[in-house]
Amino acid sequence: MTLDYSQQHLIKMANQIAGNMPSRENVPAQIVQHMAQFWTPPMRADLKKIAENAPDSFSDDVLAALALQD
């Protein structure tokens, strides 16, 4: 899958959030909460769509967070 600039940026942002969450306990839940606070619904939807097609681009914590968003 070819990813455009915007998609690549979303992937990077998501992975960065996962890697920097202060507490390492239940990181996926923290990611969900962070995104709910600071990301628009379309951004969250776009991220989910990207993950369906390019899951290898994401850390496990991000993928777990996206699963939690269901």
Binding site: S6, A36, F38, T40, P42
Partner: protein
């Protein structure tokens, strides 16, 4: 009955500074008993009691000097006639200020001064504004008995400084300028050269002012009692005839000024000695660099154009507003309401910012509003809210005077916040210790009478590693303030943090290699801070503009809480805000996820309050941040933007991406003073107002709300908030305000921390530091004194995560950026002033070893390339930076510094990582080119 001692009378020079003593003594001045603070000078006591003792070398901004001998008094029971400026009051003292003996002595002193002074009062530029002239009148001098002899009347005038002249023929060598440069500014550029009759004021060992170490703060001009040091504006235009108090529009110090005018022509800006932030001091920008406000480049009529490759068309306001509204409505119809958004500006007033975010939320019906703090202090907002409960510095500026150890992290106060820098330097000269954490050797590291106890010269991008190592030492050495933590903080979070921070991976020894800071230096600095008594942290964009900016803010908050350095004078965690109203723009609800007062848009209770007052349903989901808007524009989903006072094409990172995004939009509206880099992509240009034309408030880095008063009418005929309201109404949502004051009333009604604020109260008190409410009706200088805003202080673990931006074989150097004293941000204002004599272009500082390796000599043109792009500028070989690091400023569009900065950003807030860009440089024969 003793006369009560009142607060200093407005604008009256009391001769000597106030004392901090709380005890009082009773003295009799010319037979009247007065109670005064112990230690106060006779001169000041007399002034407070209503008696002005003649003086020349004394002024209440400087320590007493006792040289002019004009202020002599008689003290009962004492021999001689002591100088009233240097003689402290004692209980029971009886003083005579006016006797025949004193009259004779004073007249004799004045006669000597005047015997070597030009007698050209009528044509002198200081006529009517000269203390020497005043004193000659006060002592009744009518003639000079001395025949013409040796004198200084032919001494030359130094006109080298663009803003003021030094006419040595009028100098009385009172040393006020020298003392102002030393005591107030702390630069020590001036001295008195030679002795006796040959004595003269000398800038940096007899250099011209422009070539000396003088930083043109204007303190010497302010202090001069004659026409010796005088603003060229006064010389050219004449003495001002009216005054308006207002606030500077440059950095986050937010200095108060008195604008002095002749009619509607501004003659000079004089720092207000009653200003809460600056106490009568200023820097070269606020004092002198305001000429941009009337620069010929100002656009004062609205402009529109169909496409960005067509010519601008000058139109009237109704046509411009209708054009903009039609474009925006068309975008909404075709692409939906979230295809629009807005950016507020930290250079605008609280009231102007508030109406823009209100227009976006209530009229455009989207939360796509963001502010330029996104690219500077958004991590402060995140980090301090998480730990302390609100997004603001903890102290007032005066607090630094009580600090025992000052830790400056990623900030350069003497250049970027110079008036606070001077205040800090004064405290350091008094003996406070200094720890500097910065890749560069900033001026504070070593300057006259100041030397940092520790300079932790870390590698760019390793802030968190260094502060974690400091905290590790404090935790493992047993220097935690356990009582403070137990009483004031969330203990569970503290215990988790302690477990984390004491891990060996956080030890100075483990982190020395990555940070480049020797473990011993970390251990020494940790001991200095932890055992300080009062330890204060001040930080700038060198903290926030990193991939771990938010983490670093929380790490500093942890450090302060762990050592009990919160909640009183002399301590705290203090962001030095870049622009004048960064704090205010954030307070006003400019972030896409928050209403004013930092309350999330998803909070039903808060949203209902806004809905009730604004009369519209508001969105409960956060909107897009600036980088998200730009990304969405490139993807074709975001089509129109309202940009208030911000030049994102120059200031934001990865300029090419910004240009692509702006190019992709159907309607870009720019509201600004000048056509700028961003306006190249605009379809509508709405002329803005300079700070001299604004009516409103700015909130500075210490949460101080200051009035910005209109000095002259808006050049465009409309206030900026009126323009925003007109566009909102054209979009179908009316915002009816009769004045800026009414906007503040609405802010106060909707924002708990501003609940008590009004223009009337600001006029009464001068300024107010929020929170201002029922509990604190006159504001809050020190926050978190009894409890944190969030209740208990929250410790948060802060693992160090290296940035993705690393030096490689292709890009082996790390570029970091900053500001210089004479220029300001993208330079739109300062480049249009004579400040360019000090900084005409951006220069790349490079270490000698790195330069030699690449065959670069001082002054050579070089190409600087990163993975984002390349630019050209000249090189300067500097010992201020370590090998492997290069540094430049971003004040000039021609150098296009942000062409090479990348899209890396803070993990929590998307604040760009300006401070770390991997680059390579190579010699270039070409001249500088733009993007």
């Amino acid at each position: 009955m003793n006369k009560p001692i009142e607060i200093a009378i407005e604008d009256l020079d009391l001769g000597t500074p106030a004392t901090l003593s709380e005890s009082t003594v009773t003295v009799h001045i010319d037979g009247n008993a007065v109670d005064v603070p112990a230690g106060i000078s006779i001169m000041r006591a007399a002034s407070l009691a209503g008696t002005q003792i003649p003086k020349l070398c004394a002024t209440d901004s400087l320590d007493a000097f006792g040289s002019c001998r004009l202020c002599l008094v008689e003290v009962e029971g004492r021999k001689g006639t002591p100088a009233s400026c240097t003689t402290p009051c004692e209980d029971g003292m009886s003083v005579k200020t006016q006797t025949p003996r004193l009259d004779k002595l004073r007249k004799g002193v004045m006669e000597l001064y005047i015997s070597d002074h030009p007698l050209d009062c009528l044509t002198c530029s200081a006529n009517g504004d000269c203390e020497l002239q005043d004193m000659a009148g006060v002592v009744g001098l009518r003639s000079v008995r001395y025949e013409e002899g040796s004198n200084h009347l032919a001494a030359s005038t130094d006109n080298s400084n663009p803003y003021f002249s030094f006419d040595a023929s009028k100098c009385i060598v009172c040393s006020r300028c020298v003392r102002a440069c030393s005591e107030v500014q702390g630069t020590f550029a001036l001295t008195i050269a030679a002795r006796g009759f040959e004595s003269k004021v000398s800038p940096s060992e007899e250099n011209a002012f422009l070539d000396s170490e003088c930083v043109s703060c204007g303190a010497c001009v302010q202090a001069c009692p004659t026409a010796t040091l005088q603003e060229k504006q006064v010389i050219n235009l004449g003495v001002p005839t009216r005054k308006v108090k207002t606030t500077c529009a440059y950095c986050g110090v937010g200095c108060s000024f008195v604008a002095e005018l002749r009619g509607d022509e501004l003659v000079r800006m004089v720092p207000d000695k009653h200003g809460g932030a600056n106490s009568g001091h200023s820097c070269v920008k606020g004092r002198f660099a305001w000429g941009y406000a009337t620069h010929s480049d100002r656009i004062t009529r609205p402009l529109v154009r169909e496409t960005t490759d067509s010519e601008w068309r000058e139109v009237d306001w109704p046509e411009a507003i209708a054009f903009a509204a039609d474009r925006f409505k068309a975008i909404q119809q075709q692409h939906g309401i979230d295809a629009l958004g807005g950016i507020t500006s930290s250079r605008c007033t609280n009231e102007e910012v508030y109406v823009v975010q209100k227009m976006v939320r209530a009229s455009l019906r989207t939360n796509n509003v963001d502010t330029c703090a996104r690219v500077c202090h958004s991590p402060t907002g995140y980090g301090l809210k998480q730990t302390f409960g609100t997004s603001a510095g903890t102290q007032d500026f005066a607090s630094v005077q009580k600090a025992d150890v000052i830790m400056v992290i990623g900030a350069n106060p003497t250049d970027a916040h110079p008036v606070f820098g001077s205040r800090m330097k004064r405290r350091l000269r008094e003996g406070a210790k200094l720890i500097v954490i910065d890749p560069r050797s900033i001026d504070l590291v070593q300057s006259p009478h100041i030397k940092a106890t520790e300079h932790l010269q870390l590698q760019p991008g390793t802030n968190v590693a260094v502060v974690n190592a400091l905290a590790h030492v404090i935790a493992t050495e047993g220097w935690i303030d356990e009582a403070f933590v137990q009483e004031r903080c969330d203990v569970a979070s503290f215990n988790a943090w302690r477990r984390f921070i004491t891990l060996s991976e956080n030890s100075p020894e483990s982190l020395a290699e990555v940070s480049g800071v020797p473990a011993e230096a970390i251990r020494s600095a940790a001991a200095t801070y932890a055992k300080a008594g009062n330890g204060a942290i001040y930080y700038g964009l060198g903290v926030t503009e990193h991939s771990q900016g938010s983490t670093m803010v929380m790490a500093m908050a942890n450090l302060a809480m762990a050592t009990g350095n919160i909640g009183r004078d002399g301590v705290g965690v203090n962001p030095l805000r870049g622009q004048n109203n960064v704090q205010g723009a954030c307070d006003m609800g400019s972030f896409p996820h928050e209403f004013s007062g930092y309350r999330h848009v998803s909070d039903d209770t808060v949203r209902e309050q806004f809905t009730a007052l604004w009369g519209v349903d508001l969105r409960e989901e956060p909107g897009m941040r600036i980088p998200n808007m730009l990304d969405a524009a490139v993807s074709g989903q975001f089509r129109g933007i309202y940009i208030q006072g911000e030049d994102i094409a120059q200031s934001d990172p990865n300029s090419q991406h910004v240009a692509d995004a702006l190019n992709a939009m159907d309607c870009v509206i720019v509201q600004d003073l000048f056509l700028n880099e961003t306006s190249k992509f605009a379809h509508v240009f709405l002329p803005g107002t300079s700070f001299l034309e604004k009516d409103g408030t700015f909130t500075n880095a210490e949460r101080r709300i200051n009035r910005v008063r209109p000095v002259v009418p808006p050049a465009s005929g409309m206030a900026e908030w009126q323009v925003t309201c007109a566009l909102s109404e054209a979009m179908g949502y009316a915002m009816d305000y009769a004045s800026a004051s009414e906007i503040m009333d609405e802010i106060a009604a909707l924002t708990p921390t501003f609940a008590g604020v009004s223009f009337d109260l600001l006029d009464e008190l001068g300024s107010i530091q929020w929170p201002c409410n029922e509990q604190a009706p006159e504001g809050t200088p020190i926050m978190h004194a009894q409890r944190f805003v969030r209740g208990e202080g929250q410790f948060i673990t802060t693992p160090y995560v290296p940035t993705d931006e690393r030096s490689t074989r292709k890009f082996p150097l790390l570029l970091t950026t900053g500001r210089i004293l004479s220029q300001y941000n993208v330079g739109a204002q300062t480049r249009r002033t004579d400040n360019t004599v000090w900084h005409a272009e951006d220069i790349l500082e490079i270490h000698e070893a790195d330069a030699e390796l690449r065959g670069v000599s001082d002054g050579d043109w070089i190409e600087v390339a990163s993975r984002a792009g390349s630019t050209r500028m000249r090189a300067h070989i500097s010992s201020d930076i370590p090998a492997g690091v290069v540094y430049t400023t971003f004040h000039h569009p021609v150098s296009g510094t942000n062409v090479i900065t990348t899209d890396n950003s803070d993990w929590a807030t998307n604040c760009p990582e300006y401070k770390v860009t991997a680059v390579e440089i190579r010699p270039s024969s070409a001249i500088a080119v733009g993007m």
